[in-house]
Each structure stands twice: as C-alpha cells, then as structure tokens.
Symmetry: C2
Subunit: 410 residues, 2 copies
C-alpha cells in the first residue's frame, strides 16, 4: 500500500511556472528565524535589518480611521478616494510640483505602483535598467511582471552615485524600456544631485525610454534639497513617479501608495489595472488624508530625529577600521562596505555565535541588494530606525562583532 | 512658437506596452457617467450593475479595528497575521475542509489571490481555460500576468452549467496550465454539482493541469449544498482555492482575500510574491478575524435575505416575455437573456432615454463577461444587492424598459 501511495504521488507531480520558482525569498527577512532563535537564548537583538521605523504613526491618522462613520465598507473608486487625491495634489504643490488629482492613481502600497509601472511600460521579456545595490523587492516585482532588470553597479567608494552616461548607455538594447531609480536611495541613502538628474533626463529622451522615479523617502534629506524627477517638466510624458506614505507617516502596515503620471496612456492603463483589482483599501486612505494635514513641523521634527540617528550610525561606522562609506544625505539607510569577507556569513555569525553583554545586532547582507552575482559580499545595509541611545550601543556591538568575526578564522 | 511646441510633442512621443494598451476599462463601471448624468436630471437609478451589497459590515468588524491599540502601524507578516490565519483555518474546518494556517496566504482582496495564482502556474503567454460568461476582471488580471484566457462558452438555456468534458478537452494545448472556475458563479449564479466537479477533477488529472477555484460566494447558496474544490483531496496538489471576505462580510472596501494551497511549491511562490509586496493591510485583517467569530446565525439571516431577493428578481424576469433564465442556486447575480438585440445599447437606453415615474435601472451588459467576440449580446447581469421592495420596483421598471426599448426601433 505504501508503495502504491508513493507511485500516486509521483504520477500526480505537477510543476509550477519557472517564474514562480524563480521568485526570491526576501533576503531581508530570511535571517529572521536565526534572530528568533537568538532571542530564544535570551539575547537582545537590535534590528537594523528592516526599514520599519519606531516612530509612532500620527494620532491624526488613527483618529480619522476610528471616526469613520459609514456602516458599509463599500468598494471605493479604483483611482483612489476623491478627497485623498485632492490632498495628494495639495501636498505635491507644497513640494513645488504641479500635479492635479487626475494625474494620480492611489495604489496598495508603493509596491503596487511599481508593479503597475513595470507592467504598463514593458511587454514580458523587455528590460528596465536599475542601479545596484537597489531595493531588493524590485526583483520580485520584475519576475511577477515577467520583465528583466538590467543592473548597473554603483560603488561605495563613489558614495553610490551614478556612473557616467556612457556606462549606462552601453547596456541599452532594443528591449530597454526604462530606467528605474530611487531618490533618496534605499539601500544606500544616496541623494542624487542636479547633474545626475539632468543626465538621466537626456538619457531617457535620447534613447526613447521612460523614467521611473521611486521617491518614497522624499522628506528624508539631511543635506541640501531633494530634486523630484517630476520637476523635469520637459520630459513629463516619460516620467512615472512612485510614492507611498509608509515611511513619510510611519505607516508601513497601511499599504497606501500612489503613482503619478502626466502621460494619459499611462494614466489610463494604471486606471484599468486599478479597476481590475477594484480599489485600494478605504480606511487607510481616510487615515492618510488626515496625515497630509500635518504641518511642516511634523516633518522637521522627524527629519531632525533621523539626522541625529544617521550621525550616530555614521560615527559608529567610522570607528570600524577599514570601513568604506560616504556619509549619505538621505533616506534612513547606510550601505557600508565593512572589513568582512562575506556579509551573509557575518550576519549569521552575529545571530548565532556572537553576543556582547547579552546583546547583538541584525543587519541586512549586501548581496540581496544586487542582481549581479558575487557583488556586495562585504557590504551590509543598516537601517537607522531605532532611538539614538540604542543605535550607539548597537554600533559598538557591531564594531566588536566585526573584530570577533575576523578573529574567528585565524 | 505654437508650431514649435507641437513639434516637440511629436518628437517626444513614447508609447506604452501593448499589454498596457490592451487593458480593458471595467465594463461594469464604464456606464457610470451615464448614470451620474441621469441622476443629475433628477432620475432615481436602481443600481443592479455592481456586486456592492447594501448589507451592513458586521459591528464586530468595526469594533475590532476601532479597538486596535498599537501606536505604530508596522509591517505585518507577508503571509498574513498569525491570529487571522488561525481563524481562517478554523472557519474552513467548519466548512468541512482540513486546511492548516500554513496552507493559507492572506492577499489584498481576492483580486491579488487570482493574480498570484495566474503568475505562479503560467509563464507569460501560457493559457488558462475559463467558462464564459466569467467575472470580467479575470481579463485584466490575465493581461497583467501576461497570460491568455481561453474561453469555453456556457449557455443561458443550460443554466450556464458546464459543457461535456470533450468540449473542454478540445481547447487544451501544450500551453494550457489550468482551469479557472467560480463556484457559486459570478455572473451567472450557477452552483456546480458533484458531477461537474468530478469531471473537472478527472480533466485536470488526466491533462496535468491546475484547478483554480474561486469560491468567494461559498455561503450564498439557495438550493442544495456547496461543494468546495478543496474537498477533492485526491487532487489537492493541483488546486488553488481563491477566497475573500468582501461578500461574506459585506466588506468589499476592506480588500482582504486569501489563497489556499496544499502544494508547497505554490505556497512558497505565493509567499515570495507576498514578501515582495511586504504585507496586506493590517487593520482589515484585525477586523476580518473578529468577523469570523460570528456564528451560523449571521450567515443564515444573510442567506435568507438574499434568497428572498433572488426570488423577487427571478419572478420579475419571468414576467418579461421571451426571457431565458434558469433560476440560479447561488451568489447574488442572475445572468438573464432578455428579448433585446444589444445589451450595451439597452443599458445606455435605460440611463439616457428611459424612465418610469422618475426612476430607472442600471444593469451590467452581457458582452463584458465574455472573451469571445459577439457573445452575450442579449444578456444582462443583475446583481440583487438591494432590499426586496426596491427590487420589486426595479424589476417592474426593467420590464417596462424592455418594452420601450423594443418599441423604439419600430
């Protein structure tokens, strides 16, 4: 009987799609079981591995949701709630961008905005250029959309700034449909300047490409000023801006994002994708609309807090001899090239073998942010989403951890 | 200067992807502007065109959300909140299905579950068989996933039941990866019986296909009993069940769905898709978990109400001479073949030219539910989501509208 059962199992074997099998496990999340085990052994883990801020979601957000008075939670508009679209338009005006409510599609997180954009500009098998290290989930979205990401490597030594135009142009083929960049950047914290934006503008115009601008960290700027891709009005028909409240209002679990475009074909396609999935969740749009009423003070206070955190992390990194890292101007991440041979082994080591005074640190290993095989081996992403005292302690532990890791093999 | 500007516009012309252009506008929603105009003229419109129930979302759902005490709305688990997964598993047990929490992935609406399933079983350009008329948004999901839907036509005269196996087998090619069906059916209300399910079981087993079972209307059964695809445990590695709370708890705007699978490859791929988009919204999962605590009384009362509504609509249809429609056993839709030549013209006529006592009716034209060109021309979908008195009035108006429409041309 047992043999028969086995034969049945073999006979009925059915395989899923290649893209289904190719979908990567989240490199940020896959070390979580090791962290859980460490906690089980009584070790306190500082989580520098994930961009989950500790900042409270604004009370205004909660109050708006808790005051929602409708008794039927009905389908909303596919493009987003009218009130919320109008709040977004006002917000962009304050950012110096002239964007009307009918140039915005509300999405379920910035994630959905990115998937929509990839689907709208590419046939299956077409290509989008990205700058690695990049937000690791672009990989999963690309596989879902059936498209290919073509990476251009940027370097810690250059502060992860963009390479010269000729380097980018070298990888453009007849299948290339756009360039996707994140500014301020996750995972590097790099803020791109006017020259880099001008280069991208000319590049997409001369090569008939779209420019996908992920600007979810717009407010998180510690030096200078953020330049939005949408300010380059000469190429506004080529730009899709991708946005989200997740970081801006510390509401990662709300899943409220949006897509901005002045190209009507893109708008209509995004609207039709939105109609297929009916609508984004209603309650969180109500909360987000209230959050956008917060004054500049809210952002000033938040950015001040993150600037202090960045300084603590950067100072801590500079105390680890051999670290390569240019102090980044934005977001809340630093991609540091550490004096280690293998970031994945190091991250595991910190969770399984190392502790100092009963504490250790979890970082996100660099290779998960690269599409090119073998890149980022010495790099780790540090998310500074904890209070400064905790970060000081965490950076001291990280330094001791690097020393212990390098002594281990000797 | 004006000429120059025009030239610039032409030079910068950039086209989006073919699939982006192919995305259909929602056939259910596209007549809405005509309805708005009718309302502007003071005409009351009975909305029988969209599956938005008027039933209140349970107070338990609202209370749970309003009592949510965390101050940071953080990322949740990619597969869904542990509490909610466990509630779902208990719910399925009550339905007679043995499904553990780690065989479930929470999705953002049933919509996301369908997109995940299509992506996981098909490469771009591969095929899934559907029975038309079908839930119109399957079209948009298929275009997004880059796959092809192959329709098999079912007929009003047969109560939209499935055709013999040989008819289905005729369209299976080397590209066919699965069969997607909705039971109870939207838009027809048809409930498939044991024989039909057995036929599908043998069909997918003999042809090495997956079976995608959309069972979001599981409770909405007015005759007999619902048979879940997941009860066919002999082929459980081939089944992906797609589910949602939208109709079950009248919470369409919550966007809480889920996917169920006993195939670990499918589970892992769905988890990885889930990890890429991080998580589904947290608050609505909290609400949904509370709603699943509702006893059988909740469903009994709701189903009783809908049964009355169905009877009113069916009786009303039988009063329109020439209508072809077998009284459907489930969901809250009837797809009726009316004595009209063109359902889209008829639906427009009802909103632009016709009214009776200052009132008219909006229906969803049949062709939008077909993939085959030219099918469903005489059919309309009626969603019975209003109170019985309103439905009685609406059906009387519909009868008068059909008469007026047919007199018009003469």
């Amino acid at each position: 009987m047992k043999d028969r059962a086995n034969i049945d199992t073999i006979e009925s074997k059915i395989t899923i799609s290649k893209r289904g099998l190719a979908l990567p496990a989240s490199p940020i999340r896959k070390l979580i079981p090791l962290a859980e085990q460490a906690k089980g052994r009584g070790i306190k883990i500082y989580h520098l591995n994930i961009g989950q801020p500790d900042i409270e979601t604004p009370p205004e957000f909660w109050q708006a949701i808790k005051g929602y008075a409708n008794k039927v939670l009905a389908y909303g508009n596919s493009q987003g709630m009218a009130d919320y679209l109008s709040k977004l338009s006002q917000y962009y005006k304050k950012c110096g961008l002239d964007i009307s409510p009918d140039e915005i599609i509300v999405t379920t997180g910035g994630s959905e905005a990115i998937i929509f954009a990839m689907t709208i500009i590419c046939e299956p098998d077409e290509e989008i250029i990205v700058f690695e290290p990049f937000y690791t989930n672009y990989n999963g979205f690309a596989i879902q959309a059936g498209i290919k990401l073509v990476p251009i490597t940027t370097k810690a030594e250059d502060g992860f700034h963009l390479p010269p135009r000729a380097i980018i142009e070298k990888v453009i083929t007849s299948k290339t449909r756009g360039i996707l960049f994140c500014n301020p950047n996750n995972p590097t914290g790099t803020v791109y300047g006017r020259e880099e934006l001008n280069m991208l503008k000319e590049l997409v115009r001369d090569n008939n490409l779209f420019l996908l601008a992920d600007e979810v960290y717009r407010e998180f700027i510690y030096e200078g000023k953020h330049i939005s891709a949408m300010s380059m009005t000469e190429i506004s028909d080529r730009i899709i801006m991708l946005d989200s409240i997740s970081k801006r209002f510390s509401a990662c679990g709300a899943r409220v994002g949006n897509l901005v475009t002045k190209n009507r074909d893109i708008y209509n396609a995004a609207l039709h994708l939105g109609q297929a999935r009916l609508c984004s969740p209603t309650l969180e749009q109500v909360g987000a609309a209230a959050a956008y009423d917060l004054g500049d003070d809210y952002f000033k206070k938040m950015v001040g807090e993150y600037r202090n955190r960045r300084d603590v992390v950067y100072d801590g990194l500079m105390k680890i001899p051999g670290t390569i890292c240019i102090n980044p101007g934005g977001a809340f991440y630093i991609m540091a090239k550490l004096p280690i041979d293998n970031a994945e082994n190091f991250a595991s080591f910190m969770l399984t073998e190392f502790s100092y005074n009963g504490k250790s640190v979890m970082v996100a290993p660099g290779p998960g942010f690269y599409a090119s095989q073998g890149k980022g081996q010495s790099e780790c992403r540090i998310a500074y989403v904890l209070k400064t005292d905790d970060l000081k302690d965490a950076m001291d532990i990280l330094k001791r951890g690097v020393e212990a890791y390098n002594l281990k093999g000797k």
